[in-house]
Symmetry: C2
């Protein structure tokens, strides 16, 4: 199968994955998370439970699917082309990559809100959400390692990815709660704000936030 | 009941909790995590499954119990007495608190190693471990908020706690893998190293690690 066919198959997979997530979240909202089963979700999507498990290991993971679920290959390629640099610059480029991804493919605020709310009400959903963020961290750390000098202390890519994911998590959560602010239908400003706070937090001698 | 009685009860609770964790981890090592049940763990500890669930919501959470499980009230009191300060100084004090806690009550390297290994082999254990770190983050964020000026942007305590927990998680994981280095039976140096990398990561114009 050529690359065109691959592209189509990938797109269909992504659409199915997205639909499972949307249905799982809606059913959890309507019936309460504990009453929802993989069978209910599968029936509503029109797939078998077996197919469901090709996409997600559990109903928890279907519910917490969170952007940036997948990074655009173009953005990743551009990031890696940036080449080895000071860790600080790599971190700046990585947060820029994540923010561009969020801008290209913005999540729905109500959806993110519901996911965080479910996570706070059901410990297994909370655990799945944290695992999801952590899986993103590991993927990002591998991407960062690809770009950096092979001699770099291997802890550095992990910490760069952790700080970037902290900014995304914190910014997304804040955005999802800030229902009073209807001006912004994108989490981008919130994630940028978290990046600024983090930079000022660790930079010596800058202004404080008190 | 007076404070002395409370102290004793608290200590017994802590000992039971610790024993459940140690047994759960040993059984998982011996039989494989999937074959271990709450009933098996409870029988070995000599408690009822009902009592088990007073301590942990699942076998996963019993396995991943990780230090710093509880912070010493003295260390927390000293941290809060530090009073409002620049976020950067609060972060420094918080990492110092966590490092002192680890030094006072050092975990066993083989145990931490086994927990991370189990987490990488069983997704539900991984999720529980991440949830555990995140619960620590929330507790720390609340402690930081107590100390800071009430006008402080509420994102700041959360981000301070996130960065501190990132250092602990990364340092502990590195320490647990570094079996070649028998000189250090404490994760303290590893966590300190992660703190240094994080500081240099965000500080402008410092040396790099390539």
């Amino acid at each position: 199968m050529g690359s065109l066919g691959e592209g189509l198959r990938d797109r269909r997979r992504r659409e199915t994955r997205r639909e499972i997530h949307v249905v799982a979240l809606r059913l959890a909202r309507e019936h309460g998370f504990h009453k929802v089963t993989v069978e209910m979700i599968s029936a509503e999507v029109g797939i078998s439970p077996r197919t469901f498990f090709n996409y997600f290991p559990s109903k928890e993971s279907a519910v917490v699917e969170q952007p940036p679920a997948e990074l655009s290959p173009d953005l990743v390629a551009r990031f890696i082309e940036g080449g080895p640099g000071r860790p600080r610059d790599v971190l700046t480029d990585l947060t820029r990559l994540l923010i561009e991804q969020l801008a290209q493919d913005p999540p729905e605020r109500s959806e993110v809100h519901d996911v965080f709310e479910l996570a706070h009400s059901a410990p297994t959903v909370f655990a799945a959400l944290m695992a999801r963020f952590d899986a993103s961290r590991l993927t990002l750390a591998a991407t960062v390692a690809q770009r950096m000098d092979p001699d770099t202390d291997e802890q550095v890519p992990d910490l760069i990815a952790s700080v970037a994911m902290t900014a995304v998590r914190s910014g997304m959560e804040r955005w999802s709660q800030d229902t009073a602010d209807d001006r912004s239908d994108s989490p981008v400003l919130y994630v940028q704000r978290a990046v600024t706070v983090l930079e000022d937090l660790l930079a010596p001698g800058t202004h404080d936030f008190t």
